[in-house]
């Protein structure tokens, strides 16, 4: 029973960590100063959320590993994040497309997780939802601005949405871990969020004069530790310090 909850929490923690890591790459590289600050702030929110979750996962694992060991000292196949979140940032449109599709899902997900029977997960959801509301607002503003902007910006964001779309199916996948979490009262039935997500996303994309891609075949594998070729590079950078100087603190 404990094992299932550990896996459940670890997935959420990995999602937050990996997206936080990706977004932090924009620090100092944003297209304008305000956006540089916006994405760095968003990254900080995710890394903070990840810290809270890893602490909880470490408590559940009770095998002597702390949150830093979980975050920095696992092998690639032991990370269980959604594949979408490990993809390279691409251009600004690609980053925004990901932020929009993912945070729209997360908002729905956290709203449900706030009813969790587990008090820590409930607390995490109630805390994070306040931050994610700002992420959704920020990303949707940019989807509208780029979609209904110049020909160039329209094409860029449309291409990005098209490229990333097949990674969004993984949001709603339910496997044994998820099902058990629902049965035990602390999880979320993600499949049931699909319609609400599709509706919200369709409304924004339509307003932004963008085409909603057809849903079909989906990328999948993150939850079982099968990653894209980009993951190894991400981990090499993220884990470097802890691998080179074990236990380093500052």
């Amino acid at each position: 029973m404990q094992d299932n909850k550990y896996n459940f929490v670890l997935r959420l923690a990995d999602d937050a960590l990996i997206l936080g890591q990706r977004l932090s790459e924009w620090c100092g590289h944003g297209p304008v100063l305000e956006e540089d600050i916006a994405l760095s702030n968003t990254s900080l929110d995710y890394i903070g959320q990840a810290t809270n979750l890893f602490k909880y996962a470490a408590e559940l694992a009770a095998d002597g590993r702390d949150e830093d060991a979980l975050a920095f000292l696992r092998q690639e196949s032991e990370y269980k994040n959604l594949l979408m979140l490990e993809l390279p940032n691409g251009d600004y449109a690609f980053t925004i497309a990901r932020q929009y599709l993912y945070s729209s899902f997360t908002l729905l997900y956290l709203t449900e997780l706030a009813n969790s029977s587990d008090s820590l997960l409930k607390g995490y959801a109630e805390k994070s939802i306040k931050e994610v509301r700002y992420h959704v607002q920020h990303a949707s503003d940019w989807v509208l601005r780029m979609g209904d902007g110049t020909e160039e910006s329209h094409n860029r964001i449309q291409t990005a949405i098209q490229q990333i779309w097949s990674y969004s199916g993984e949001f709603f996948e339910m496997d044994e871990v998820d099902q058990k979490a629902v049965d035990e009262g602390y999880g979320v039935d993600k499949a049931s969020l699909r319609d609400a997500w599709q509706k919200a996303v369709t409304a924004t994309l339509t307003e932004a004069t963008l085409q909603v891609p057809e849903s079909g075949w989906n990328q999948s594998g993150g939850r079982s530790g099968r990653h894209t070729e980009h993951m190894g590079f991400l981990l090499a950078e993220m884990q470097y310090l802890q691998r080179a100087y074990p236990g380093a603190r500052w």
Binding site: G20, E34, E35, I37, A38, N41, T42, L44, D45, Y46, I47, G48, Q49, T51, N52, S119, L120, K122, G123, Y124, E126, K127, S128, K130, E131, R133, Y134, Q137, H138
Partner: protein, 151 residues
């Protein structure tokens, strides 16, 4: 606890900010319970260290600082006095009623310029110098300023 200040907004202490939730004795141990403003607020660690420093200074031998996420921090906990102090520092204070999603998502905020008091202001960016602030500009006195955003 009123001697511990937020390193990023040094006019406010940890109590005025609503970061310190409880101070109580757990048997012989003095327990201070704090809550983060934002999950990733980098000031939390410093605030925790400062609290420990003060406890030591006051001669408290047994202490513990616990962090809680529930109930989630809200700008509503900020006292009127704290809001006044923010204005004097040039930061527009958060509006009350952060729980109101409509206000948050509907963008109908009326933020008053902390310098000249004009209501003719516009948001430049939702994200500002720290996680808890947005960047605004006053159309009257043309000064940019920080707005402590509601959560």
């Amino acid at each position: 606890m009123t001697e511990v200040f937020d390193p990023e907004i040094p006019v406010l202490n940890a109590v005025e900010l609503g970061i310190v939730r409880h101070v109580r004795y757990d048997d012989q141990t003095l327990v201070v319970v704090i809550t983060p403003t934002y999950s990733g607020c980098p000031a939390m660690r410093t605030i925790e260290e400062d609290i420990i420093e003060i406890l030591k200074e006051k001669g408290v031998a047994n202490y513990r600082v616990d962090t809680t996420l529930t109930p989630a921090w809200t700008t509503d906990w900020m006292t009127d006095e704290a809001r006044e102090k923010l204005v004097r520092e040039g930061i527009a204070p958060p509006q009350k009623g952060s729980a109101d999603k409509g206000l948050l998502m509907g963008r109908i905020r009326d933020v008053k310029c902390p310098r000249c008091g004009s209501h003719d202001t516009a948001m430049i960016s939702q994200f500002g110098s720290t996680a808890c602030k947005s960047l605004y500009k006053c159309a009257e006195c043309l000064e940019p300023f920080d707005y402590f955003k509601c959560i």
